[in-house]
Each structure stands twice: as structure tokens, then as C-alpha cells.
């Protein structure tokens, strides 16, 4: 695996008015990693994600992408090379599935034949056969199918970095598990080429998907380690409490069985 840093936060803070969401955040994510960010709502995980693609500007500190401060990048151009998947899915309702996936390639002025080829390839990759789905419309698809399209759309321009903002949060448990597996396989299939930054509030999702898991609370990192290390050596009372929720679930199961 290449060890180039892709995302670097250096003493980043973010305040919204009087409200400090991120007091002081520093971390580095290297190329090819699949990192999950685990936190409850208000922990600052989505704010952190949006500071990577510049939708939110830090109050102070530096965010570097590919070793270059965000401020030195052409933001619009950078975003075209960062995939973005959100919980609301947010497919454009007035565009066909094909056109939804083609948005970024079109912005990058790819040739139409190349775009078509890419769309078909991606639909097959996310297991929506292109001949059946390319010309359909977002409102004709189920939530899980829509998010598969969301995933294809994020991967369309072959970005090296993909940001996931609780992409499976609105889906039912079975669809959720399927897509977790697929996202993991997808990441593996890129052989360390692509970095996935995956925000979630679901403990099991974070532990299953992440090669490293960043546990956040009140805008600070409680622990940033491999899933094994987190489970075996929780670094703080908060992490222990989080893990205990899973034990409580298992207790419930034992009782029911």
C-alpha cells in the first residue's frame, strides 16, 4: 500500500457562531485506506467530512489534500475529483439514472461515448444491469437501488478519494448489510488505489467496514485505531460505553433465544 497522506488535518477548529463544534482536530489518512468515523449526532463527524471537500471552511488550522492546503486547490476542480455520497442519497429527480451518473464526467468534459461506456460499466458494478436501469428515473427505484446509483455517481469520474456521509443511514437492515459488504468489496477491488472516508453512527458498521476507526465525541478524537484494537483496548470511558451497547444487544438476544 502506498503511504502517501491523502487527508491531513492540522489543528483544525470550527465554530458556528458561539458554538464550537471542533475544538482542535489533527489526524492523517493515507492513500488507499478505508477509514470509518464513528460518532453520535453532534459529534462533529459530518462537519469534519465537509471540511474535506470544502463545503465547510475551518475557523482555523489547515486541511491538506494530497499534501497541499485546501486553500491552494481550485475547490471546484478538487470536488470533481472527490466522490460524495450522502444519507439523503439526493439523486437529481429531473435526470435519468444515466444522467445522474454522468454529472461529474460531463463537468469534466469527457467525450459522450466515453461517458456512456463508463455509466454502463458502473451500473453493472453496483449490480443494477445497465440495460434495465440506465434509462429509468430515480423515483422508480427503491431506497437501496437509489443509493447504489448514488455510489455509482460518486465513482463516475474515477476519484481517488470518496467521502461517505452516513450513506446507509436511511436504509433497512438487510439492504444496509448488503451494501456494507459491497462497499467493502469495492474498496478491496481497487487494490489500495482509492481512499474511502466513511462517516457513520453505527458501531457495527464502523467496525465491519473500517481498516481504521476514528471514534469522535464533541469534535475530538477519542480513539483512532484498528477495529481489533478498539474492541480489545478501548482508549477511553466513552469508547467502553459505546462497546457496551453491543453487549447489551447480545444480552437481549440471549434472553430472546
Amino acid at each position: 500500500m502506498n503511504q502517501q497522506p491523502v487527508i491531513e488535518f492540522d489543528h483544525v477548529t470550527k465554530c458556528f457562531g458561539q458554538n464550537t463544534v471542533i475544538p482542535d482536530l489533527s489526524f492523517t489518512i493515507k492513500q488507499g485506506e478505508l477509514v470509518t468515523i464513528l460518532g453520535s449526532s453532534g459529534s462533529g463527524k459530518t462537519t469534519t467530512l465537509k471540511m474535506i471537500n470544502g463545503l465547510i471552511t475551518p475557523t482555523s488550522g489547515t486541511v491538506k489534500i494530497n499534501s497541499q492546503p485546501l486553500a491552494d486547490h481550485n475547490q471546484v476542480d478538487l470536488r470533481r475529483h472527490i466522490g460524495y455520497v450522502v444519507q439523503q442519497i439526493a439523486l437529481f429527480p429531473h435526470m435519468s439514472i444515466r444522467d445522474n451518473i454522468a454529472v461529474t464526467p460531463k463537468l469534466l468534459k469527457w467525450a459522450p461515448t466515453e461517458i456512456d461506456k463508463r455509466v454502463n460499466e458502473l451500473l453493472d458494478l453496483v449490480q443494477l444491469p445497465s440495460q434495465d436501469y440506465a434509462n429509468r428515473w430515480p423515483n422508480e427505484l427503491s431506497g437501496g437501488q437509489q443509493q447504489r446509483v448514488g455510489l455509482a455517481r460518486a465513482l463516475a469520474a474515477n476519484p481517488d478519494l470518496v467521502l461517505f456521509d452516513e450513506p446507509l443511514g436511511a436504509l433497512d437492515a438487510l439492504t444496509r448489510l448488503d451494501l456494507q459488504k459491497e462497499i467493502k468489496q469495492l474498496h478491496t477491488s481497487f487494490l489500495g488505489d482509492k481512499t474511502f472516508f466513511f462517516v457513520t453512527h453505527d458501531l457495527n458498521e464502523a467496525l465491519f467496514l473500517g481498516q481504521r476507526v476514528m471514534v469522535m465525541k464533541a469534535g475530538q478524537i477519542e480513539q483512532f485505531a484498528t477495529p481489533q484494537e478498539i474492541v480489545q483496548h478501548p482508549a477511553s470511558g466513552f469508547v467502553e460505553e459505546l462497546l457496551a451497547t453491543e453487549e447489551r444487544n447480545q444480552e437481549l438476544w440471549r434472553k430472546l433465544q
Partner: protein
């Protein structure tokens, strides 16, 4: 009635054509201005609210007084009439336009931005197409009210169907008055039908039963 038509058919038709020209011209100008204003104010939401407020004030000025007020500036005739009609329809069009834009799911705009669209591309590719149904409903309301306000333009020599109405009033004759009303209503109905067709053509498909 029929004999009035036989004698004045060409006048009635010319008045109708003038009326249509006045109304459609004003609406077109108002629509272009609304789009430009929204484009210019893309990053300044408050400015747009302020503009909307100003137009609402202007809208509350009685139209007859407005024609009179503008006379020293733009004189008798078409220009004054067009300016007044543009201002009146601008309020309705801008207001519905803004409402339409604000009704769009904010996550769509955030994702479009996050995918690398400039704010202009977000406007042209996402916001404008999704606001089309509300833009058209605004146009329809503006059309109906402009049709009737435009009849007053006859008092400042701008022509149109108001000429017939005032002729009827002044000479105490029913036929020109009725022809004026009939043609105004007919023109309104036809234009609304045309607007509906245009809406059908320009409204983006949102999937569903196809």
C-alpha cells in the same frame, strides 16, 4: 353586437393584437429580469428577499396612479405601459420563482456543489429546471392580472383592448364594451392554454408512469 363587429372588425383585431403584444412583451421582460436578478443574487439570499419586498411595495401602488406617475418620465404610449406592466408582473414572477427555488431539497444543492458544480451550474442544471413548475404557475397568475391591468394602458395612448372599453364607457354604448370584455377574456384563456403547452414542453420529466 354583430353589426359593430362587421363595421369594426379590423379595429377590434388590431386592439387585441396590441394588447397581446403589450402583455406578452411585458411578461417576457419580467421573466428575463427575474432570472437575471436570481442569478445575480445567488450568493446573497437576503438581497433577494429585499428586492422581493421592494417589488411588493411597488405592486401595492394603484396601477392608474403608476401610469400617471411615469408620464413625465417616459411620456404617453407603449414604453410607459410596458414599464408599469413589467413592474407589476415582476412581483408575482419573482416571488413565485423564489418560493420555487427555496422549496428545492437543500441536500440536492449541497450534493451538486460537493460534486463540483459552480454556483451558476447548480442554478442552471438543478435549481432552474426544478423550479419550472412554480415559475409557470407564477407566469399564469401574472398573465391573468397583467391582462386586466393592461386595459388601463389605453388611457395613456398605449392602445390595446382598453381602447374599446373606454370607447364604450365614453359613448355609453354596449357593443364596444362587450367586445372589449370578450376579447380580453378570450385572449387570457388562449394564452393560459399556450402557457400550459409550453409548461408541458419545458417541465422536466420526473419519472413515474412512462
Amino acid at each position: 353586437m354583430i353589426s359593430y363587429w362587421n363595421q369594426n372588425a379590423s379595429t377590434i383585431l388590431t386592439d387585441t393584437a396590441q394588447h397581446a403584444q403589450l402583455v406578452f412583451g411585458s411578461l417576457a421582460i419580467a421573466l428575463v429580469i427575474a432570472i437575471l436578478l436570481v442569478l445575480l443574487c445567488l450568493r446573497h439570499d437576503r438581497l433577494l428577499t429585499g428586492l422581493n419586498y421592494i417589488f411588493s411595495l411597488l405592486y401595492s401602488v394603484p396601477s392608474f396612479a403608476f401610469f400617471a406617475l411615469l408620464l413625465p418620465l417616459t411620456g404617453l404610449g407603449n414604453t410607459t405601459a410596458t414599464v408599469v406592466l413589467v413592474i407589476y408582473s415582476e412581483y408575482v414572477i419573482l416571488r413565485t420563482f423564489i418560493t420555487g427555488l427555496r422549496a428545492i431539497d437543500p441536500s440536492l444543492i449541497e450534493v451538486a456543489t460537493g460534486m463540483g458544480m459552480t454556483s451558476r451550474q447548480v442554478f442552471l442544471k438543478i435549481q432552474l429546471p426544478l423550479a419550472i413548475p412554480t415559475i409557470f404557475s407564477g407566469l399564469q397568475v401574472a398573465l391573468a392580472s397583467t391582462m386586466s391591468i393592461a386595459t388601463i394602458a389605453a388611457t395613456i395612448n398605449a392602445g390595446g383592448l382598453g381602447t374599446l372599453l373606454f370607447e364604450g364607457l365614453q359613448t355609453q354604448q354596449m357593443p364596444p364594451l362587450l367586445w372589449g370584455i370578450i376579447m380580453t377574456v378570450a385572449l387570457t384563456l388562449v394564452s393560459i392554454a399556450v402557457l400550459r403547452i409550453l409548461q408541458h414542453v419545458y417541465q422536466p420529466r420526473l419519472g413515474g408512469n412512462h
